[in-house]
Amino acid sequence: MVFARVATRRLGAVVVLLLVLSVLTYGLLALAPGGPEQALLGERASTPETRAAIRLQYHLDEPFPVRYWYWLSGALGGDFGNSVYFRQPVLSVIGERLPVTTTLAGFAIVLTLAVGIPAGLAAGLRRGSAIDRGVTFGTLVSLAFPPFGIALILLYTFGVALRWLPIYGSDQVANYVLPAIALALGQAAVVVRQTRAAALDVGGQDYVTFARARGLSRLRVWGSYSLRNAALPVMTVAGLLAAANLTGAVFVEQAFSLPGLGSLLVQAVNQKDIPLVQALVLLGGAVVIAVNLLVDLLYMVIDPRVRHGAAA
């Protein structure tokens, strides 16, 4: 089983990676000025006894390696500690917000692919045409626009001026339309460029010329040959984007007041909520790694050359 072998080989690397990531994050937070103490005390006068109790409870006076060990031994047993600010297990804080982020990410990636692939193919299919130039310029602009700027424009146009869509809230599908568009715009541009380049590349290959010469219709050639072969790079990009959506939709979540993982991270960093930041960073790392692995495995399914290469 090629898949199984690749997967197990990777697993070791994954464990090392996550460990490194956790040490780095923990160290950074532990060394930084400030600390969770203030979040625990609130913004008011406090008594020395209270402060001493907090320092003891959260092991704030122990050396860094000891504190890290407390965290790690807990984490290995599945206990990622309690959020300092929310006073709940980190996992349930994250669990509550996860659906918001996954809904947004899923919605955005579907939009990205649904718009990006056809637009990229259309551009690649007629290189140099008006469509190509228009699409290419469109991607340039949407890539260059600051992400919060897009959110701003969407909110003002559809939320305030036209009042078509609800923008505040997170409990109905309609709440996710604008955030998903804001998120997908820049990403669709990446997919368009990738698809277009892949299509151009594949279009120049002998087998396409050959198929065309055999009299197969242009559509058929593109549909059954080119798309399939252009799929690899496009899929890679799509996977990376999906991972990015799951970990880094910070601006969009903030802009639309969505209680997702991105806005949670900003809040946790500001409160020095170490267990929460730690878990979020690890989750982010795990998602990126998992997506990368998934893409690699899919490569083998789609492109036999890779499979043989890997087996060899």
């Binding site: 000025p33 400030g34 600390g35 969770p36 103490e37 203030q38 979040a39 625990l40 005390l41 609130g42 913004e43 008011r44 006068a45 406090s46 008594t47 020395p48 006894e49 209270t50 402060r51 001493a52 109790a53 907090i54 409870q57 600010y85 929310f86 006073r87 709940q88 349930s92 509550e96 918001v100 919060f148 959110a151 701003l152 909110l155 003002y156 939320g159 305030v160 009042r163 078509w164 609800p166 923008i167 505040y168 809230g169 997170s170 409990d171 309609a174 910070v250 601006f251 903030q254 802009a255 639309f256 007041s257 209680p259 806005s263 900003v266 809040q267 946790a268 960093v269 500001n270 409160q271």
Partner: protein, 523 residues
């Protein structure tokens, strides 16, 4: 109420984000529940913990006071009134006896015992609990059940603010529940249990949902259901209220106040807060120790501009460090004459330059002023910096991560100049003056950010605390006159707090309102 640094920001989320426009379509989601007996309130940051021991912040206390009772509460004029206690007496100074109301039950039907009541105060004394309210009960010596319906509290020394503090932090919770969940009471895992007019039915990432508590001992709440939810972006919050997708807020973001007026179908009102905003000048600082420098700064700052930028003009100019409601409570209507008699430093660049010329640094100097990167009053701080630039004092604003900035300030580390706003819950000046000018508060974790403390001032304050009537008035006048001469604090403004409510509702929220949700009714 113990003073707190008013957090004008949307909690940790502040400072982040963009945008000003998120509204829901008013038509698509008509009102937040259809029926008028249901109310949705929005807060700038979410309620975190429904227990004052760990959730002593405005959005959380807003919810706490709707579900939890205190033995005593504040009347509309700030006076202490019995609540869950039927009556209370002070047999000797510093000892209070509370007689409990009979037949009161928690919302699950369990009767309230004197043990529950005593424990609810006692728990804040336990360092293990690390209660955020601990410093307010520091003078409590003993809490005892002295009869099945009677609790006696003995203080270490008489304290004029104990009852007012008790009205806020002595929230009655079941002893058994609180003992079993010391750290998690009031979180979504263990939503608390109270005797108040409402009870919690849901506590999720979307907010807190309350329903009428039919076990309530007092007049039944008029609203069936109340939802409290957060919108971090101030403009989104405003649009949500103006479009009717939420019913209102009791916490209009001060910087945005000007945008809130004139909304159709929404009643917007401002009331004077029991608060004071000031610039603190650390008198131990190399430059600021010179009284002429401090007076020069007082002359150089354009307070009207600062007020405009910090609270959108929704404020009254302040000339002394006591909040307006406290001045009124102490001196009556003649308080204005007292204030007018204090040394004053009107906005006047020529006078500022003249004062600076008298100091040891006539050519000015550079001052580094740290601030939290999410501080919404940073515009006002910039205006102060530019004002001081005009008389040769260069101000370098230094952004710090929010938690680090606050921790550093409470540790009194690198204190120079700072813009703060303190808000109080009691009409008595017995908290503000020791807080700003006292020796204890000059220690780390105190609010004396100017580090101004002298044996003379300390003696004056201690004497004042024991006085009453006219003698007290005179003692306070002496203290605030000295403070005005020395200018460790430059009083800036008295902020007003804003409430916006859909016209379907009416409210009677004022400076002394404890239970704001309870003060809202269907029109």
């Amino acid at each position: 109420m113990p003073p707190k640094l008013r957090k004008l920001t949307a909690g940790a989320l502040a400072g982040a984000l963009l945008l000003t426009g998120c509204a829901t379509n008013g038509g698509a989601k008509s009102g937040s529940g259809g029926s008028a007996a249901s109310l949705t309130l929005v807060t700038p940051s979410p309620p975190t913990v429904l227990d004052i021991a760990h959730g002593f912040n405005t959005p959380s206390t807003l919810v706490q006071f709707a579900i939890l009772d205190t033995p005593v509460t504040l009347g509309e004029d700030g006076s202490i009134k019995p609540s869950l206690a039927e009556s209370f007496t002070e047999p000797k100074p510093g000892t209070y006896v509370f007689k409990l109301r009979p037949g009161v039950r928690f919302s699950d039907g369990t009767p309230v015992t004197a043990e529950d009541v005593a424990y609810s105060l006692e728990r804040h004394l336990d360092p293990e609990l690390a209660s955020q309210a601990a410093s307010t009960v520091i003078t409590v010596k003993k809490v005892e059940v002295t009869a099945p319906d009677q609790v006696t509290v003995e203080l270490k020394s008489p304290n004029p603010t104990f009852l007012a503090n008790a009205a806020l932090i002595w929230q009655i919770v079941p002893k058994k529940l609180a003992e079993a969940n010391p750290q998690t009471l009031g979180t979504p895992e263990v939503p608390t249990l109270g005797t108040g007019p409402y009870k919690v039915t849901a506590f999720t990432v979307d907010g807190v949902t309350l329903e009428r508590n039919d076990q309530y001992w007092g007049p039944k709440a008029t609203l069936d259901r109340v939802k409290v939810t957060a919108i971090g972006e101030p403009e989104a919050m405003r649009l949500a209220v103006s479009s009717g997708s939420v019913d209102g807020t009791t916490l209009i973001p001060p910087q945005e106040a000007r945008k809130w007026e004139g909304m159709k179908g929404v009643d917007v009102r401002f009331y004077p807060g029991n608060a004071i905003a000031f610039l603190s000048l650390n008198v131990k600082d190399k430059y600021l120790r010179d009284v002429h420098v401090r007076r020069a700064i007082a002359h150089a700052v354009n307070r009207t501009a600062v007020q405009q930028l910090a609270v959108g003009g929704k404020a009254a100019p302040a000339r002394t460090i006591l909040p307006q409601p406290q001045l009124k409570a102490l001196y009556g209507e003649q308080y204005e004459q007292v204030v007018a008699g204090l040394p004053d430093y009107p906005y006047d660049l020529a006078a500022a330059k003249a004062e600076l010329a008298k100091s040891a640094y006539p050519d000015g100097f550079t001052l580094t002023v740290p601030y939290a990167s999410d501080d919404k009053r940073v515009d006002a701080l910039q205006a102060v910096a530019a004002d001081l630039g005009k008389i040769g004092i260069k101000v370098d604003l230094k952004p710090l991560p929010p938690d680090a900035a606050r921790a550093q300030r409470m540790r009194h580390q690198d204190l120079t100049m700072g813009l703060s706003e303190l808000s109080y819950g009691t009409p008595d000046p017995g908290e503000v003056l020791p807080d700003l000018l006292g020796e204890v508060a000059a220690q780390p974790q105190g609010f004396n950010f100017a580090q101004y403390t002298t044996p003379e001032m300390e003696a004056k304050i201690n004497t004042m605390l024991g006085l009453t009537g006219k003698a007290r008035q005179d003692a306070v006048t002496e203290i605030i006159t000295l403070a005005a001469e020395e200018q460790p604090y430059i009083p800036l403004y008295y902020a007003q707090y804003g409430v916006a409510l859909n016209e379907k509702f009416v409210h009677s929220i004022g400076p002394w309102t404890v239970n704001a949700i309870g003060a809202i009714k269907v029109r």
